[in-house]
């Protein structure tokens, strides 16, 4: 017998790119879709969409949904759903406002307390689910009702609570400080640029190190030209976004927080045993249990994460509006769930990435922002967003099945 599987002549870079794309199509699809959507809006608004100001606004606005989408990803991965996150965020935002304005507590006490309360609420919501097998749908819907009642209760006397704490308000509206001008790039935010350069260098170094590591294990790695192409692409994307942001106030605190959350949870899900356990529980709970993983514990933990992120979302939102309102949180859960599904999370469990959901949130936010710029009526906006949601999930399904 002849061995016909031996390597097909030297692969050229195009075929390598193609095969990489086709093998990971569902992974790249969202990314490509995002770029296409952005291009369309850029053309439709004569470049207004891609202006520094608009991109900066878009990224700052999406914070409270992006962090929820991160948590929701994990929830859906373990085959559950959390319908309570919107009202939890609303309630905790109001709680923070009251703690600062009525009780006069300092912001650096309020924020940790609110985050801890978020964790506890998530944990509490998860108990009937993890211990008694109550469907998450029911348990979290009930929790949502309770949080909503609590929100109305605490805002009953006051109605909208205006927040005056400058530090708290900076979270949703402020930007990182800059160094004074010295005659070079004076129209740009220089610290943002420096951070961008550091990020690029860091990403290149870590990519080279991981490649070296692989080579030292004698594993196959992509061809050098492919590797360089990937490096250039990543650097270009980071560079471009940073350049855009530096043209308008620079990095916002809210974006910094979102990026930290995304990085942290990407790390947890891809690099740690805990991440493996979460995906194992989602992939096959019985097998996970027999593998020594406590499904109940993972469930509680994931809901606690969700709780913390809901609290963070509440803080970001209240801070951005500089107030707590009686309707804060309304519909957040729908946006978060939509972002997760657009980003490739599977309702069947065990599948979905943090980055994917982040991009999903970006897609949904870009739609809103772009259509607002174009002056499209809100009614049409809802219809378009619904269509995009279902379309994205259909494409995702189809490409996965084809494999």
């Amino acid at each position: 017998m002849s061995d016909e599987k031996s390597d097909p002549a030297k692969p050229n870079i195009f075929s390598e790119v193609l095969s990489l794309l086709s093998a990971n199509f569902s992974q790249y699809f969202m990314f490509i879709a995002l770029i296409v959507i952005m291009l369309i809006f850029t053309i439709a608004t004569d470049g207004g969409f891609i202006s520094s100001r608009n991109i900066s606004n878009l990224l700052n606005q999406m914070g409270y949904i992006a962090v929820l989408a991160v948590g929701m990803t994990l929830i859906i991965v373990i085959r559950h759903i959390d319908l309570s996150v919107g009202y939890l965020a609303g309630f905790l935002g109001a709680f923070a406002a009251i703690a600062m304005t009525s009780w006069g507590l300092p912001v650096y006490v309020v924020i940790p307390v609110v985050l801890i309360l978020g964790a506890l609420s998530g944990l509490l919501t998860s108990l009937p689910i993890a211990k008694l097998g109550v469907p998450a749908f029911v348990s979290t819907m009930a929790a949502g009702l309770i949080f909503r009642g609590a929100l109305l209760l605490v805002t009953m006397g006051t109605g909208t609570i205006i927040i005056r704490d400058p530090i708290f308000n900076a979270i949703g509206n402020g930007f990182i400080p800059d160094i004074p001008d010295f005659g070079f790039l004076d129209d740009r935010h220089k610290v943002t640029l420096i951070i961008g350069v550091i990020a690029i260098i860091f990403s290149i170094i870590s990519a080279i190190r991981s490649r070296r590591k692989k080579i030292s294990y004698n594993f196959e790695v992509s061809s050098p030209s492919m590797f360089i192409l990937q490096m250039i692409l990543t650097s270009a994307i980071i560079g471009y976004v940073v350049w855009l942001l530096s043209g308008y106030n620079g990095l916002s605190w809210s974006l910094v927080i979102v990026l930290i959350v995304v990085a942290l949870f990407t790390f947890i899900t891809t690099k740690t045993p805990l991440g493996r356990h979460i995906y194992a529980v989602g992939g096959n709970p019985e097998a996970a249990e027999l593998s020594g993983i406590s499904v109940a514990r993972i469930t509680q933990l994931v809901f606690a994460f969700m709780g913390v992120l809901s609290a963070l979302s509440g803080i970001l939102y209240a801070s951005r509006l500089q107030s707590a309102t009686t309707t804060a949180g309304l519909g957040f859960e729908t946006d978060a769930i939509a972002a997760a599904f657009v980003g490739g999370v599977s309702a069947a469990g065990g599948v979905g990435t943090i980055i994917g959901s982040f991009i999903g949130a970006l897609v949904m936010m870009s739609l809103t922002s772009g259509m607002n710029l174009m002056g499209i009526d809100i009614s049409i906006q809802y219809i378009v967003r619904g269509a995009v949601l279902v379309g994205a999930v259909i494409v995702d399904r189809a490409t996965r099945k084809g494999r």
């Binding site: 590591k213 740690t272 019985e286 996970a288 027999l290 593998s291 065990g350």
Partner: protein
């Protein structure tokens, strides 16, 4: 020569990275029992999936003829209409539904709008009679044993006008009595003119029922043997299958000292709240280092329940009694505790609760022992690849790469992944539940060899098996279970097929 009822010509089917079928030609004569044999991953299931339209026309190359007519199935419906019925390697019944609902699932008999239960039940009863199954059509499927469930699968297939019945490893999960029943049924169907294609790793049953045997290896047809006079010998078959001869099905083990006691159960009982009855009663067993202890018994005798109740009791039975590990009493709250005490449990149901099918080979192998490849809280993915590749080599797992999803592996190779996963835990006592179910002769030999080398290194193995030859060939000691109790204990020397069966059927 008469025209064959089925002809498959030059079938080639590729998956990314694997050529599952490579120019396969397969021809079946009308009214015969045609067996398809070959190693795990040889392409047997793929071939019948091509035939039944699971892999539709256009996703493979080659031609299919039924009674000389070319066929282009675009789905299962098409092949069903052409008179083909297939029963898959894994049962596809809905446990919560009744027997009659299952039989007519997707083809419900209605009187206009609603389901006509009377008519359905009547027809279901007729079909059940045809397969020789004596159960009330209204019972829920989940209350029946695997053997009966398998017959229901066949009943389901037979409700339509079937010309070609395909069975993919129907007896893998059955004990001898149930297997015999099923084979008798197939022979009966043959008399009624149904052509049967049977895939099996149990060569003895193949030799007993087959008129013709086709051997596949690495996706190619190796040969087709005429067995109408039962002239084919097992050794010949094995040689064609694995490409070499295997003289002894059970490898020799070095005589080793049986060491000290590593596991003991005292008055172990369990009550299942879900079933509402006692499932284990007063079990006293022990296992020593360097020993293979077989647990024999019929389906439903409580063997798997025993294993699970020991292994951290994930099904939450109410248990009483004591477990001693190396002389110290232990209370396992969950499987994790059991793993910490160096126990491992390789389940009989690899798809249901053994593996995470949507994840790849390497992730499955390392799941239970991530600690070993974690440095400062971070998983060393390179180390993980090394580990997984080691098991791929040593267990001879057939997969294009360890990045392949387990879902895409053949049944036998999934079993090997499951085994690799638990070997990586480096256990002291390994409970193997039907370790060679659905595994080919060559791989069986490999697994037995691995078991031997494990006990030679001082490990202990508890082997639950419904295959008596395996129990007899491998065990140092045999416990026989029946009705949730240990009814007898035999040494390896004393044990014979008859003695075990005698105890197993006792109440």
């Amino acid at each position: 020569m008469e025209q064959p009822i089925l002809e498959m010509k030059s079938i080639t089917k590729e998956f990314p990275g694997v050529k599952a079928l490579d120019d396969v030609t397969f021809s079946v004569a009308k009214g015969e029992i045609h067996c398809l044999v070959g190693e795990n991953g040889a392409g047997k299931s793929t071939l019948v999936k091509v035939l039944s339209g699971v892999h539709p026309y256009g996703t493979y190359s080659g031609e299919i003829f039924i009674n000389g007519e070319p066929q282009k199935f675009s789905g299962i419906r098409d092949s069903e209409n052409a008179g083909i019925a297939i029963i898959y390697q894994e049962l596809a019944l809905v446990p919560e539904l009744s027997v009659y609902d299952n039989i007519f699932l997707g083809n419900e008999i209605t009187n206009g709008l609603t389901i006509d239960s009377y008519e359905t039940i009547k027809q279901a009863a007729d079909i059940l009679k045809k397969v020789g199954l004596d159960v009330n059509p209204e019972t829920k499927v989940k209350t029946l044993g695997v053997g009966k469930q398998q017959l229901i699968e066949i009943a389901k297939a037979l409700k339509k006008d079937v010309k070609i019945l395909i069975l993919d490893e129907p007896t893998a999960a059955l004990n001898e009595t149930d297997s015999d029943n099923l084979l008798e049924l197939i022979k009966g169907l043959k008399k009624q003119g149904v052509t049967c294609i049977l895939i099996s790793h149990k060569l003895r049953e193949v030799l007993a029922v087959a008129d013709t045997i086709t051997v596949l290896r690495d996706g190619k047809t190796i040969c087709t043997l005429d067995n109408r006079e039962h002239q084919v010998r097992e050794s010949t078959l094995i040689r064609h299958m694995v490409g070499r001869s295997i003289d002894n099905v059970f490898p020799k083990r070095k005589k080793i000292e049986i060491g000290e006691e590593v596991l003991r159960l005292e008055n172990w009982s369990a009550y299942s709240p879900a079933l509402g009855r006692q499932i284990l009663k007063d079990i006293n067993i022990n296992v020593h280092a360097g020993e293979i202890v077989g647990i024999a018994g019929l389906m439903g005798s409580g063997r798997t329940e025993l294993a699970k109740s020991i292994f951290g009791n994930p099904d939450r039975y109410h248990v009483s009694g004591k477990i001693f590990i190396k002389g110290k009493e232990q209370k396992f709250r969950n499987p994790h505790d059991a793993i910490i005490s160096q126990l491992a449990y390789v389940t009989e149901d690899r798809k249901g609760n053994g593996l995470i099918l949507i994840q790849d080979v390497k992730t499955n192998i390392t799941l239970s022992n991530l600690r070993e490849i974690t440095e400062r809280g971070i998983i060393n993915e390179n180390e993980e690849i090394v580990v997984a590749n080691n098991y791929k080599e040593s267990l001879n797992i057939k997969t294009p790469s360890i990045e392949q999803k387990v879902l895409n592996l053949s049944g036998g190779n999934q079993q090997k992944v499951s085994l690799g996963k638990w070997l990586f835990v480096k256990p002291g006592v390994m409970i193997l539940d039907e370790p060679t179910r659905g595994i080919d002769v060559g791989a069986k030999y490999e697994i037995y060899t691995i078991m031997n080398s494990l006990v030679e290194r001082g490990m202990s193995i508890i082997m639950i098996s419904s295959e008596l030859p395996e129990i007899l060939g491998m065990s140092d000691r045999v416990y026989v279970m029946s009705g949730g109790q240990i009814k007898g204990e035999l040494t390896g020397e004393e044990a014979t097929q008859e003695k075990i069966m005698e105890i197993a059927v006792e109440y």
